[in-house]
Assembly symmetry: D3
Homo-oligomer: 295 residues x 6
């Protein structure tokens, strides 16, 4: 009846979910507007809104990959967060992810700070522990996020990968790293199932990195901290770090891993607060490209 | 199933509309993100988003009026606009309004520039011409918007009330006016069924204005150009004008007319581009207060 | 001694503290850059920096009160906060306040979100429980902050005064209120030792309020949520509410209570992110005026 | 002739000046984009551009004063400033003012920082010393600007009125003051030909101030530091001061003195950096209203 | 003669035009502050102002090309636009262009949205249809702008090159493309006289593109949608697209085509709203470099 | 001793200086918040604050150089500047630098505009003239800054290197240049002891530049005008210039010269006005990397 009325807040290439009438095997997209543990600059709570907004800027034909975007994707809205309470928020994310998996929909999460990845992968872990142990985690970030704790907190954005490693995935690959504390660097180097490539490695010889990624075995989980990009391309992040990678390089790496069996994806640390900010455009592009590859 | 998932973009105190299961006699809220004819500063296209966002800042108990907000209101989303094409956009607004009226829902529109009021009242006119002729229009604005044309355009934000007057409503009352061209001032003064109170009149003797409003007969239509407020309270508008009214004064006047039989309401010219901007807070308050009065 | 205190730029009219050589009986000023439980807009973590910055904008002679600012005040820097962990941060605030009181310095806190008031008054409570039970709390705010809990959290900015009331101060006076949930309103009305004046009460008859304040007995504690001001005067706050009070009105009320025996003061919810923002100018003014009265 | 004048966008109600064909007895408007001595926040260099831009927001019929704007006014552009060199810039302003006076055009200057007033009145002084000694200076400001020196500088924005007083005008009236150093306050009180009204005096009894202004004898010079307005109405100024006057109050005072014999006018300290900022709207209004009174 | 042209600040290296005394064979520069059909983010109406402002940032000696900027260029101001009315605005642009061509001045236009290119080339078409059919159009853009229509509009920024192609120029070359709808991609591929190079083609082998451009035959028309640059270099555009070209690459390509016989140039979609924004600096550079080549 | 130094927040990896107990042979860091001669956009007065703020964003382990940051560095605060008075400010900088050198601490200055380099090197010159004549100056900048004068001023940001050259250092190397006036270009080319590499030279063959730098003899002084970076990486500068170098390239060049005997370092023209702005992150990185190399 309201032919002209537009349903606003879905990601541009996603539909609303009708529990009784949906296509299993697709993707369930949700936002987590949570940034309580951020140490430097807050604002990633606006990430889900910013990414959805930016998604309307894309056209349906993806020139780079010569395909229309047609993967089945449902935008189920935002998880209700509990500001200042990481544990409660984490539980809500896990429940949401488990519900999606039960419906045979794979999770795509839009942060929010990086701690939300604990919730997404925690949900996968609780849904199917074997799957978790069998999985390779691909982690794009300027930072290792491998601290034992940060300012006394075990569940901090700076410790998120450490917590995930303790749950024993098959292995973790960290891409674009360029900032560290010495202790976490030692931790990374002392574990055989953690590999990393700095932004310098990527800039100097991306083909080497692409070959490495090509050889990875299924299944995968992908976590993209948008601060992996240079601040020129992603200025609105909680902890900007110079000498980052470019969107071309991110696209090249994603092009290889997206073709594999990906259990879940998250894009985090988007703190855009103006419409059209390149940070959210590049973040939306990660999801847009992923959905293209899955089309 | 997704217990934690939140449906984001509705106005805070409104629900989504299910055509098959709704309560007639309530309100239908919609946005019109259109600002193509704006002459000075564009940006009111962001108004609907900004107003909805700001609505989440309010609490359900309205202290001033000692009531909880409980009026039945459905947020049907945004009308699809045709940027750069006023006539096409206007038709879409009219169709939406007529559909709402047919469902026995009264329209509440969030602009968008002031020309959208032509669409809302045009829809009412086409739905029930007699009703239109029987109606008093209450117009809050810094400007008369009574020009014959503006930069050669008959359908300009600066001419919107002139077009409405030509359709012959019972009368028009303009409140908060403080800027004019001489010709439109002459037009206003030469018509018996147009009355106005400047912001100076309101500041000097609001009781006089309140008495006038108390005496108005039903039915009414209310159009609020948010630039009626002083730029201190509404800095993000297309044409800011000094020496405006205060939110207290707007609240006092609205308190009287909202209690009457109001056929429709619009709030326009909100150009907020940052979250928490007072312009959108004050605009959301107009709708929040209206819904309180109707609770 | 101030293990958690970090070294930063001093407030303009304060000195650094040398533990071995200071004047007892003065004031100890500190910041708490904590905003983890904020529900709507984060950013009050920048408050201490913004208020200190704005303090350099004032001149040493206070025209309104005809005095030079000469009270003894030490700026001990910022309390180290634990982002995302309210309980840990609260403990640090309490320890800092107790250390100050042991040195015979009265606390002045710059927030950060309103929950930090729990820490300041919690420190006073733990230092001298009798003093707490004997004290009147003066609370300037747009909101009661009297909820039992907020989104499941007992220690939320929206519940801060409820927690303080449960610790049994002599009484609480709330000034400038204009937004509420029904339940907290009921709680307020049902307790004899909680009084409130809305912003409407203040606007309509400030003399009545001033008389009330004049009659209050010592000692007092003052908590200023800067959102008590209208958004025109304090646009950068977490939860802006229309129809607030003016800086003139705040100054008039403060002029009376500052002359009494004030145990402590806090100014919270300043989220300024640009230099010269009126929010931080008005917040710095509260402390500047207080120090004038104590000169 | 106007060797230093640079060509820019005209003020909305002004024309370009053709030296060979103009109407004597009118006004010569110019900008001085100079802010080198500003101590707190720079940016008034953008003032002339901001004020001209804002002027296009006004309509030709002035409702408050029931007149069309038709005074003869020429916008001769911006005086060429020498950043970091006050003395050179001052000389250029003086030359420009003398050229205007020789053409029988009265100067209207748009700052820039308040030191530019030294140039405008210095030009009048050099053109006709007797006129200067015969003149009353009306000074709207939050600050006395009566320091002997500021940070070692005799020619500082904080000392501008002191320098002007030393040149012996008939008298100086300072309006809206609310911030001071003790020494300059003493200086003001110790001179019979300096009078002042604080913003509190104006708020409490404006009629008293209006009567005083009504009684002033000709000729006058008017200097408006836009920080005389409360930061709610003029947020973008170099040294914002709380508890300022309102645009209504400024309009009321200007309405009286503009009707007298005004030798020159300046509006300074406008640091707007966004289009539509209330600071520049209110500043443009001062000139717009002045030109209305002279129509 | 330039009935529609409005007087504004000149581009830094241009003079005002005196119809009776000018040098034929030079360039006529004008702005078109029109953005009514923009679908995503408005703001290119500020483009002409932003580009002129940024031009003052350049020095007269062009190091890259080892030349002083000395081409004859007249800035005739802004064409008067009719907000919300594309057809009227288009006619004004065409008239302006035809007037310039009659005076033997070649047009350089500063947008405004991309639709203004229809006006510039439409003016050339009406002035000399044969010239149009003989001309190669060089189009820098992230988007093809080759849709048949966009949201029902034939004259949309997304359809501008389609309309121009229908007028039968010799050929069209599109450079930097990276976003498309499938239908327009099909249209491009199905026409022999449309060629394109994506941003990936340029990044991977710019020498190939430079050779192609070197071989183009005269005369040429150049249209630069500034969104051809990556958002890192041009963040303030209506529809930002990741993985764009760099200013070095744009400079290299322009260096070759500017040396040829260029009939006209436009730079569009600049939506800068802060002084010094890289978008306007890079846009001004296109014109600055062009004028260098023609010196 | 540091009479002019004001107390502020320390740079993250620096300590406060205790004159009686410090380690000679380290570095003395200070800010100079001065921007009075800036011709285009002011704001570098906020540079010291912005750089210190950004320094808290770095981690202590420097991955690129495989070292912890442990060089001895004291942050002595900001030199007191005299706004609008270059000569007085310059004298204060020189006195501060001479005091540092007498304590055997090497100066690291954070601007402020580029003229402050005159003060730093002027202090070194007055402390040890032979050292100055023996020194190579390494100058990163988009501009030569070699004008004889600028707008009549000998001591302008655009003439700073000319003044330094006149004091006869051994030689000057200018890196990243891409903008010039013809006269200064001639001056540079006509002096054998001035060498330069444009940003194009660096982009096309950085190895050639690195070899040149490797061959430079001790001692060195390094001055970094942050506008040497492309505006994508440093958008907030006084005179942005397109086609600049990248942070990777700056890091590569700094890596070679930092290992040599560096007498002093300055980083200037940072005009960031928002927290997390890439300009200040990249500026802080220059100092962070320098201190790493010296660890
Ligand atoms: Mn990170
Ligand atoms: Mn991370
Ligand atoms: Mn209006
Ligand atoms: Mn209107
Ligand atoms: Mn509050
Ligand atoms: Mn509160
Ligand atoms: Mn002043
Ligand atoms: Mn002032
Ligand atoms: Mn485009
Ligand atoms: Mn285009
Ligand atoms: Mn430079
Ligand atoms: Mn420089």
């Amino acid at each position: 009846m309201f032919f002209y009325a537009d349903n606003m807040m879905n990601f541009a290439f996603a539909e609303s979910l009708d529990d009784d009438d949906y296509i299993p095997g697709g993707y369930g997209l949700f936002g987590v507007p949570f940034d309580s543990t951020t140490s430097y600059m807050a604002g990633s709570r606006y990430g889900p809104k910013a990414i959805r907004e930016a998604s309307y800027n894309f056209e349906s034909y993806n020139m780079r990959f010569n395909k229309d975007v047609s993967a089945v994707c449902y935008d189920i809205g935002d998880v209700q967060v509990n500001n200042g309470n990481y544990m409660a928020t984490n539980m809500m994310i896990k429940d949401t992810v488990k519900s999606l998996l039960e419906m045979d929909l794979k999770p795509i999460a839009m942060g929010g700070e990086h701690t939300i990845t604990n919730g997404v992968l925690g949900g996968i872990y609780e849904y199917d522990e074997d799957l978790y142990h069998d999985m390779s985690i691909i982690h794009f970030d300027a930072h290792f996020d491998m601290r034992d704790e940060y300012m006394g907190e075990k569940f901090s954005h700076a410790a998120v990968l450490r917590r995930l490693h303790e749950l024993k995935p098959k292995d973790i690959t960290q891409l674009g790293i360029r900032s560290a504390e010495y202790d976490e660097f030692e931790y990374v180097k002392s574990h055989d199932n953690i590999n990393y490539f700095t932004s310098y490695d990527i800039k100097d010889n991306i083909q080497n990195v692409l070959n490495y990624l090509e050889d990875l075995e299924n299944p995968l989980y992908i976590s993209v901290d948008i601060d992996v990009l240079d601040p020129a391309y992603a200025p609105s992040v909680g902890t900007p770090a110079s000498c980052g990678i470019t969107p071309f390089e991110l696209e090249d790496m994603m092009a290889i891993i997206c073709k594999k069996d990906v259990i879940g994806l998250d894009v985090v640390e988007v703190s855009s607060n103006t419409i059209g900010d390149p940070t959210s455009v590049n973040a939306a592009k990660v999801i847009y490209d992923f959905l293209t590859h899955k089309s």
